[in-house]
Amino acid sequence: MDAIKVLGKTLVASPERRQEADADLTVVRQVQAGDVAAFDRLITKYRERVFGIVYNLTSNREDAADLTQDTFIKAFQSIQRFGGQSSFFTWLYRIAVNSTLSHLRKTRLRSFFSLERIDADEPVSREIIGALTDKTGADRDTYVRELQEKLNDALQKLSIKHRTVVTLFEIDGLSHQEIAEVMNCSVGTVRSRLHYAKQLLQAELQPYMRR
């Protein structure tokens, strides 16, 4: 029965995801068997992605670090309950998103930014920044910093659910199906939230866009 469920889930996922899920499941079985050190491999593999999702939801580096650690500790404590119905990374994402949403609800009135620097040497960001401005040197850094703050500000104006969908889809690259699993809602709901969130973001970031 479990095998059918796993097959049903993996059919909608890409082959790379499926291979990844299988590899994760093997490590999880080792941890469940008592090999606690095997969990470190999962931490090393997913810490940046989990940090990324939490950071993009909170826009605060310190909160993101704490919540990422919480996520791994919760996952470690509950790993005996992981039955393999979904992939490990979906399960881990769900823990991270739920922890973050709970944290955001608690600290809704006292949120503030604590941003990481944009790595301007990365090819993709370099290309985008180059297309956005002709400025160089310190002026460019100032412009990028301003854009970064404006972008985070626009994201924080979204509701928590809309922000989560945009972050998971546009920044973390999850599919609609995966987001639906993580957020425990339908694919239609994910699409609808994504569309609405993008409309709002477009209205906020219009001055920085060029057609």
Binding site: Q69, I73, Q77, I118, G130, A131
Partner: protein, 276 residues
């Protein structure tokens, strides 16, 4: 030049967020902190309700929470409706006072029970002194007894339950009654002197108390009310036209009275009539 013409979309701007990465030193600190917290979590004893077995059982039950809750509410409602019976107080809460008055004659027949408070009016000089003595005992006992009554007993007293038996009378009341009877037997003259003022006092005071009437008796019957209403309407009907005729005659001037087209004029002792 080509880069300037490249359109910038929302997706491009959002992709910049991927480039927001912490430095490598951050991960060293992160690993150290996580290790420390992991060890703390390992040493920390988890409560039994958060153990894997309980959590699994709870998650299995979670799919039945809604139907079970609905069934419980339905069952509770059904039992509550089945067991519900309106109490007499709920049906007629205002009837308690009248019941006191109604129950008093029944209490008279009971041998000096506590509810005989209202029955003292029925005692006359001609009644045997035993009954009078017992009634006095009941009177004497009633005040302290009422002060020490439990709520249930008080309601029992107020409702004037006729099922009060002699065993309900307190031992002290019985003792006083016995003493009085003995005193009367030993010296009738002394006893009469002792009792006569009390009896006289009772006879002077109790008629005032006995004016308590039954609420239903004070109500007039519907037929009497209807009769009085009709009679009052008739009385108004006979007086009102005369008064209005006088008013009309007072308001009319002499010219109006005679020059207008009044072709028929009638005057009676108490009325004026015009026909135009």
């Amino acid at each position: 030049m080509n880069q300037e013409k490249r359109p910038i979309t929302l997706e491009d701007i959002l992709r910049l967020k991927r480039a927001e990465r912490p430095p490598a030193a951050f991960w060293d600190q992160f690993d150290r902190d996580l290790r420390a917290r992991q060890l703390t979590a390992l040493l920390e004893k988890r409560p039994w309700w958060r153990s894997a077995a309980v959590s699994q059982a709870w998650s299995l039950w979670s799919r039945y929470h809604l139907p079970l809750g609905a069934t419980a509410i339905f069952a509770l409602t059904f039992v509550a409706m089945r067991e519900y019976r309106p109490t007499p107080e709920a049906v007629a809460p205002h009837s308690r006072a009248s019941r006191v008055a109604i129950a008093a004659p029944h209490a008279n027949s009971s041998a000096a029970g506590l509810p005989a408070l209202e029955s003292s009016s029925a005692i006359s000089d001609e009644q045997p002194t035993e009954i009078a003595g017992e009634a006095m005992v009941a009177e004497a006992v009633s005040a302290p007894a009422a002060a020490t009554l439990a709520p249930g007993e008080l309601s029992h007293l107020l409702t004037g339950d006729a099922r009060v038996t002699p065993s309900d009378v307190t031992p002290s009341a019985r003792h006083i009654a016995a003493n009085l009877a003995a005193a009367e037997a030993a010296g009738p003259l002394v006893a009469r002197r002792l009792l006569t003022p009390a009896t006289g006092f009772e006879m002077r005071v109790l008629p005032a108390r006995a004016t308590t009437t039954e609420p239903l008796a004070s109500m007039s019957s519907p037929a009497a009310m209807r009769n009085s209403r009709l009679l009052s309407a008739m009385a108004f009907a006979t007086e009102a036209p005369a008064r209005s005729n006088e008013n009309v005659a007072r308001r009319l001037s002499d010219e109006q009275l005679y020059d207008s087209g009044a072709h028929r004029f009638g005057a009676k002792a108490n009325s004026l009539t015009f026909k135009m």
